[in-house]
């Protein structure tokens, strides 16, 4: 087993999950300038909904995931309508407090209905495969392929469709978009929908390699924030690249420097990148 290729693969896997979570976060930030702390809770709910559908009705993994994307997406929309939309004229700090409140609420809610214990998601893709000398499970390969497929689809959606163009327009200039007749409320809801959906996809893909529990959102949300700061707040290529940079730093740092310092290395990298490019790798120009 060649350790370098193995660790590159591990970095790719973890980077894919990070990127997907960060993408949802950066989309919302790009449009509404809200740091949505509750995104981690959406991630957790995505995993729980997929798991519940699979356990309860024996629904197939992919279908369960699709339902979960829909449900969490709608939950995102609901969050926008009930919380962020009424706060649109409030000082920015109110959005942040509201987001943290949502995070705490959703976590306690999940513990109330699903219990505090760890659960396992078993997928039909547990088999071990050997890929050019690296060991992987089918699920891990799926994470990588799934993440890249989702990224391509998102890109095509934003660049090639009319609705996608309205999102970009709004990210570039909210008032301008409003002036040319774009319904900014609808675009905001759509963005939350996509953001929630991305969280559900990331959670459903990665839950089988870890466990499902109410606190699982914490594992990724802090890192997702690091990633979008690293990549440039609101930038989509930044979120993707940032996710993979963090994934590779963790896996290679843990291998060649020290596992105990891997978080240190990641944050050191953040400091270095920010001191060279204070706005992040890609300063935002409408994605």
């Amino acid at each position: 087993m060649d350790i370098l290729t193995q660790q590159l693969f591990n970095g790719l896997t973890i980077g894919s999950v990070y990127s997907l979570v960060a993408l949802g976060l950066t989309l919302v930030y790009g449009i509404l300038h809200i740091p949505n702390f509750a995104h981690g809770a959406l991630y957790m709910l995505g995993a729980y909904i997929t798991l519940t559908l699979m356990l309860l009705w024996g629904i197939h993994y992919w279908i369960a995931m699709a339902v979960s994307v829909l449900v969490v997406g709608l939950l995102g929309v609901l969050m926008d309508r009930l919380v962020f939309h009424p706060l649109r004229n409030a000082p920015p700090i109110h959005d942040k407090i509201a987001a943290i409140g949502m995070l705490l609420f959703l976590e306690a809610f999940a513990q109330l209905i699903w219990g505090a214990d760890y659960r396992t998601m078993t997928t039909p893709y547990g088999q071990v495969i050997n890929l050019f000398g690296t060991t992987a499970t089918m699920q891990r390969v799926l994470i990588n392929i799934g993440a890249i497929a989702v990224m391509i689809l998102l890109y095509l959606f934003l660049k090639k469709t009319y609705i996608g163009a309205t999102i970009i327009a709004m990210a570039q200039n909210r008032e301008g978009a409003h002036l040319v007749g774009i319904n900014t409320n609808k675009v905001a809801m759509l963005t939350f929908m996509i953001s929630g959906g991305l969280a559900a996809i990331a959670a459903s893909l990665s839950a089988p390699i870890n466990l499902v529990f109410p606190g699982m959102g914490h594992l990724v949300i802090l890192k997702a924030f690091v990633i979008i700061i690293l990549g440039g707040m609101g930038s989509i290529p930044g979120a993707i690249l940032g996710g993979y940079i963090l994934g590779f730093t963790e896996s290679l740092g843990a291998t060649y420097i020290s596992n105990d310092y891997k978080d240190l290395i990641a944050f050191l990298l953040l400091v270095i990148i920010l001191s060279i490019r204070p706005k992040g790798l890609f300063s935002r120009e409408g994605f």
Binding site: L55, W114, D117
Partner: protein
């Protein structure tokens, strides 16, 4: 639009509730009544009876809630049994127990605050807590304020410092070091890679095990730790740990994530044995790996369901009936611990003098009725640690086998 929005919200909410209401994990379904203060089903002192309050402070919300609930369940069962059997009698006076539980979220500072509250409001002679941090926080003032700590932790340090009013209920992990090392070395080889949990307890365990391993002529090829609250994926760490081609992997932490580490090690082609820290239980790990096959060669503490003390079978049955799941050792030890304290109170002839209760603990242990011996605790050491006959277990050919250890 308003109506539409409201109805959409209600539909979503009911959908979530339906989802949540029905999900049932066959292996471990926790009841989610965590948080806040709760008392056992209203204990009322009847004519001529007196109530003795017993305190419990443990994690009843947050990531460790499941563990805290199960610990509390053991105490609850013992208290309810004692009360339903008419309480106990000292000098012609009948007493019943009143269990008061508080949530400390696994935080030592909260434990200390809870202990003060229990003392002031309920005047509890004994306070149980299931984590070493909480024990240490209470040890700061327990001798001065005069109450006994029922410490459920295998950390030897809690009794090493000579606190006179601390009773350590489970055996200290010191005792496991030698038999685990022997088993793993004899069966697999001398190279070990350590990947324990990054808590203080995990570090202490590692520091106890690895020097002994080296003394026995073994070699440590990798030593790091996993932070289960931060790492999304363990593949990276396990890959590194396996790079030195170890024969044995030392793992530990909460059962479920620990099992995930073992599973990923197998996926990466590891064929050696595992030494499992006492926090993780082999039977609970099975719920994650699916079968014991994947854990072949793992050595750890004997799960309660595989133990054969005089009272174990009856306890397991009663627990299953009441809570619908198999009990873990935390429930069993709290149950038997409660009985030990009751018998000690009888032997001491007092319910509110912690020093006297502590000094009659040995008599109390001997007086525990056989059918209540979920664990047989032979004696209490000078330092306040219970000595339970050491039982360890290993997984061989997909089954748990118990291993006898010479004491």
């Amino acid at each position: 639009m308003k109506v539409f929005r409201l109805s959409a919200f209600l539909v979503m909410l009911s959908f979530l509730f339906i989802l949540g209401g029905c999900i049932d994990n066959p292996s471990n379904s926790a009841s989610g009544d965590g948080g806040g203060e709760s008392q056992t089903e209203e204990t009322k002192a009847e004519e001529g009876e007196k109530l003795v309050s017993i305190g419990y402070t443990g994690p009843l919300s947050g990531p460790a809630a499941y563990y805290g609930e199960r610990s509390l369940n053991g105490l609850k069962m013992a208290v309810e049994e004692i009360n339903n059997n008419g309480g106990f009698e000292i000098d012609g006076q009948t007493y019943k127990y009143n269990l008061v539980s508080l949530d400390d979220k696994y935080l030592p500072n909260e434990t200390a605050a809870n202990a003060k509250r229990l003392l002031q409001e309920n005047n509890t002679p004994i306070i149980f807590t299931p984590h070493s941090g909480g024990v240490k926080a209470m040890q700061v003032f327990n001798e001065k304020e005069n109450f006994l700590i029922g410490a459920y932790t295998s950390e030897p340090a809690v009794t090493a410092e000579g606190n006179e009013l601390t009773v350590r209920i489970p055996p200290s992990y010191d005792g496991y070091i030698e038999p685990f090392t022997n088993y793993a070395m004899d069966n697999f080889g001398k190279k070990i890679a350590a990947l324990p949990t990054s808590s203080q307890y995990g570090k202490d365990w590692t520091e106890a095990l690895l020097p002994h391993w080296k003394e026995q002529g073994g070699e440590v090829v990798y030593n790091s730790s996993i932070d289960f609250s931060k790492d999304t994926d363990f593949f990276t760490l396990v890959t590194n740990a396996l790079e030195g081609d170890p024969d044995v992997l030392f793992i530990g932490g909460p059962s479920e994530p620990t099992a995930k580490v073992a599973k990923q090690a197998r996926e990466l082609g590891f064929e050696g044995g595992f030494i499992v820290m006492d926090q993780a239980k082999l039977n609970e790990m099975k719920t994650v790996t699916g079968s014991f096959e994947m854990l072949n060669g793992a050595v750890g503490v004997t799960p309660l369901v595989n133990s054969d003390y005089p009272g174990t079978a009856e306890f397991i049955e009663k627990y299953k009936e009441k809570y619908g799941e198999e009990p873990g050792s935390e429930a069993g030890y709290h149950y038997v611990g409660m009985y030990a304290f009751m018998e000690s109170m009888k032997a001491a002839g007092t319910v509110d003098d912690p020093e006297a209760i502590r000094s009659h603990m040995q008599e109390g242990l001997e007086a525990i009725p056989e059918e209540k011996e979920v664990y047989t605790i032979k004696r209490i050491e000078e330092d306040g640690g219970f000595t339970t006959g050491l039982r360890i277990a290993a997984v061989e050919n997909g089954e748990i086998v118990t291993i006898n250890v010479n004491e």
